[in-house]
Subunit: 143 residues, 4 copies
């Protein structure tokens, strides 16, 4: 199954409107057409931080899967917001910067339809050893 | 307007199903009842990382607003995933650890209905100077 | 070799003055006595952010090694500064919150001699597969 | 006083061997010549994560000061390690990606003398309202 098919079948990505457009060789792209229900305020449409994050995490994961060819759960992600998401569309472009046997590091840039930078994210994903549900299979949660 | 009312009126929080239950004195709580559309896989229900993140960012913001009494856009947030979100519900508990004139630092813990830790997040929010849409009003985006 | 011996022999930890006092069962403690050369300003003694970070990364690593019993290079770490480090001493207390086959997540709290919180850090460390120099042995650095 | 002079007078930057070479218009560069005391192991010279971090935080701060012309304490920084620092030198290049009235976001890349990427860092710095010792003057540390 191609990465784009995996993500087309991902319920939450569909619920938020993520369209994955490409994923190969450690790079991936995708976008969300912004609608009123994405807003953080009822008065005007400014996409909630969770919209940019969901797009970044999803497209970042697709970039890793294009190399790992196995489910690659997110270990952690940091997102920095650079401008209010007031446009009609959010585009994400992800690139794996380091791909290892057990984890990968990915950079994701989120822009709007005028190419203004909206957010930048950096995440670590599991590349081996998990079963797709979690980065932590086989691990212990300490009290 | 009370913080809980502000968040009830937040379109994306409603779209994802965030229920904010309390927000005062720098602390806030909220939850999401997990349904099939929150899943990252079609086969079983495991909440997507964007669900925990949206809950954490929203409840974290409510904790800051309870002190700031003004919109407080997110500057950045890091989330670490500790276990797969396979339960029926995600609960978030947020606490402001530092509240300054311009930014605040917040810790958020996400657990499931059996109190298993699912994720931990730490974020920085703007506490002054913005207009509610962004942390960056008055700032310059450098090329 | 005990974790405390490993860290006593770590040249940079000695150069910065890190004293590791305990490391077992996923927890570790250590401190630095602050001197003029730790300062970020020549006029008064306020420890540079790199001092708190070096302490946090070192004590965090010791907490992981106490469980992994193998070198555990840092994959990433985020540090949030909560107050100026104007005291005579920095104490760090680290706790592994999740220990997996390939990575672990650690929380570290840095306080001064009056128990004021100075910084909080969260890091991911490799727990398997490396040779002690890096988290990335066997991995590819993508262009 | 020029940024390079401010950093020449910074005791901890001197203790770790940071040489700041340029800082203007939101960009800065600097380096550290790696010696045995920078190592994380006694057997071979592999620079400790605190060395790359101290370089990144210092050069990142210089990039912000070049625009702010006031002390700019670090609010938070995340560093991701991409390769073991086994070379003779670490170079850092920092760029302010967003400069606001109260905070700035900075990207820092750390490479070795062969241009191999060693680490990437992203930090938030205070740009106004502090007194140089901390991002938190005027703020409350909550219990």
């Amino acid at each position: 199954m191609e990465p784009t098919e995996i993500f087309d079948a991902m319920p939450f990505a569909r619920h938020v409107g993520v369209e994955l457009t490409a994923a190969s060789d450690g790079e991936a792209t995708g976008h969300i057409d912004i609608e009123a229900h994405h807003s953080s305020t009822p008065a005007t449409v400014v996409a909630h931080g969770g919209v940019s994050y969901t797009l970044a995490d999803t497209v970042g994961g697709a970039a890793v899967i294009s190399l790992a060819e196995t489910p690659t759960p997110t270990v952690d992600m940091r997102i920095d917001y650079l401008a209010p998401a007031t446009g009609d569309r959010l585009d994400a472009s992800a690139r794996v910067v380091r791909f290892g046997d057990s984890v990968a590091v990915v950079d994701v840039s989120v822009t709007d339809e005028t190419d203004d930078r909206i957010a930048e994210a950096r995440g670590v994903y599991k590349t081996g050893g998990g079963d797709g549900d979690s980065a932590w299979d086989g691990g212990d949660l300490l009290e």
